[in-house]
Subunit: 388 residues, 2 copies
């Protein structure tokens, strides 16, 4: 019976376990599937477990649970560790390796495939896309993103309604989203905006140069006009000439985060307005409340497709989602080469969407779900408030 | 026709508009109801609007929208301003004043009532309870709290699952909740915990002395045991001998917040573990995703009851929720005197719940909703992880 190892890597999402379960549902009765614990760390340390019996049942029960039920994590691969990973697979006669992850995961998977080839070990490598940042190439979008985008859009709308009620006490909220160097998530914050006076009023993306003077002018104008400003800033934004804001952990690895605190300080000291930074944090990638049904279905479907690809002896590929109709949301699940994914690097928020935000929302709305109640439009009340 | 003014004050909630609409549904065809804009600020500035026609329709459409559709805010009442508020009501021949709010709102309402009495102006004053902190006396609990508690419980569960997957990268998350000086919300974070190894592992409440040495020992022991620690801390917690962590806004008013950042720093420097502060922020009080159906129904019911009280010429009271059966959740809506509410001050998290957390969750669960899917219990996978 064919032996396959599958792992989850990088930051978890609200639907990554659906991909794992999709894979298992397709293949667990046709092969021996081993779960790799804690991402590439488990592959190198040979911490893998046969998924059968009560363990398999338990994993399947995790389909709708956020996080990554095999354990994920971030891991620094080295040449030696890659060699060790391949040796571990060889010792156990495992000839298929599947990883669910983003850019780093796909690059690592490609390296493992090349190492196996270089020692003449027959190893099938298949990637399953996953990232809330949506910065992965070779696919129209990656599972995990839509649920995070849904959270960002709904939360921005709610926080803005809260601020609207509190204008005599505070005027500015600066909501910080994930996204690394790509603005997909931050831009999603405006998906439910109905009118000019609704938040978010200002959105700042890493792809667009950020000038502090212009920012302060924008904020002042917005507060003059609406009595408030709901601002969204991507964690990857850096003022022109400055570096991105990040924090280094105890083992010396840096993570992005904190630009909203800097801007809060600027708004308070330069404009004399009360501002509050709101870092959406880990909830945006893990909220079980905000899961998009479409996202979960697609996460499951890419997992199933990876199972098919294993059985069809494909290798050096990543499963990919292709939109086949832009007017009415239809997609199919295909594949693209790992080479292409790795070569394309970080997929930034495209200029066509920067130039035409509505075009972006037309594309995004079917992904985040059309079951979201519209807020009522502001009537006389808000108009009076604005002029008052 | 009777003329009534109603306002919303203090921090908004996800269900405060349901109370307003409950009130209007009961009374808007029997009286002229004026909406006071932006809380007590609007009462003093005489910014009030007759709620009729399209404006009334618009307000009613806001029933399920977070924030406070009349505008709320924090406001410093003075003797002069109270006198001005009463004069404004007198000029317009409004003899009924209703406010939806928490402790500060009820104290202000009582003051307005006393001022009217002192000048011989007949003024009916009625309070409708609202606070996510649940620190309001005279009622079993206040609308707004249950939805916030639901958000805190679900989000802590999700963030903890995310951390569980990331243990090779970071070990400690410190989730900071609202609550002011009361631990109701922070304690709610454990409502969905299934087993010892699930988060939250440690919860710190303002009512219990907080010793830094003990905290560090607790964190170290938890990480040794589970490879991670999900910690919840109320914004009102202060280390023994130190003051609460707060931030002063540009007009000199302080708000609590930031203890999680201090603890993050401590854990990193003293224990050498990677820690991340997660401030739940404004989302916990405004999330439309986490609204508890029970909470919204009760918010609507207390609004309706206030309408009845107006028609019955009651005054000097606050609507109040009383549990009438502890074994199966049944409540009725009555009233209590404003005097009693004001005298009882901040209602802290009681020692019976500190001593017996399960007792608290038995009380809380019907409020936050029993429609929450249980996460699967950890099986072999997690056991191995713990010992590994």
């Amino acid at each position: 019976m064919r032996k396959i190892a599958i792992g989850q890597a990088g930051g978890p999402t609200a639907v990554i376990n659906a991909s794992l379960v999709g894979f298992l549902d397709k293949i667990s009765d046709k092969a021996q599937v081993y779960g790799i614990m804690n991402g590439y760390n488990g592959l190198v340390e040979n911490d893998i477990k046969l998924l059968e019996g009560s363990l398999l049942e338990w994993v399947k029960k995790n389909k709708n649970v956020p996080g990554a039920c095999l354990g994920s994590g971030r891991y620094r691969f080295t040449k030696n560790k890659i060699a060790k990973a391949v040796q571990n697979l060889k010792k156990q006669d495992i000839h298929s390796l599947v990883f669910i992850g983003g850019n780093g995961t796909m690059a690592a998977l490609q390296q493992v495939g090349l190492e196996a080839k270089s020692i003449g070990y027959d190893l099938q490598v298949i990637g399953i896309p996953k990232t809330v940042d949506n910065d992965l190439g070779g696919t129209d979008h990656a599972p995990g993103f839509a649920s995070a985008a849904r959270y960002v859009a709904l939360t921005t709308r709610d926080i803005s309604k809260d601020l609207e009620a509190m204008r005599n006490f505070e005027q500015v909220r600066i909501i910080e989203t994930m996204g690394r160097n790509a603005g997909w998530l931050a831009a999603a914050s405006g998906a439910l905006k109905n009118s000019e006076q609704d938040g978010p009023h200002l959105i700042y993306l890493p792809e667009v140069p950020f000038e502090i003077e212009q920012f302060l002018t924008d904020v002042k104008e917005t507060v003059d006009k609406f009595g408030m400003a709901t601002i969204v800033v991507s964690e990857g934004v850096s003022p022109v000439g400055a570096s991105q804001v990040e924090k280094t952990n105890v083992i010396g690895r840096a993570v992005l985060g904190g630009i909203s605190n800097k801007l809060e300080h600027l708004v308070q000291t330069e404009l004399g307005l009360t501002a509050r930074a709101e870092i959406l944090g880990m909830t945006q990638r893990s909220s079980s409340l905000s899961i998009s049904v479409q996202d979960r279905e697609e996460a499951y479907a890419v997992g199933q497709k990876a199972g098919e690809c294993v059985l069809e002896d494909k290798s050096g590929i990543m499963v990919s989602i292709k939109l086949i109709d832009e007017t009415k949301y239809l997609y199919n699940v295909g594949t693209c080469s790992l080479d292409r994914v790795v070569k394309s690097g970080e997929r930034l928020f495209p200029s066509k969407f920067i130039d035409n935000r509505q075009l972006y929302y037309n594309w995004l709305n079917p992904l985040i779900g059309t079951d979201i109640d519209p807020y009522p439009q502001g009537l006389k009340l808000t108009e009076k408030e604005i002029t008052g």
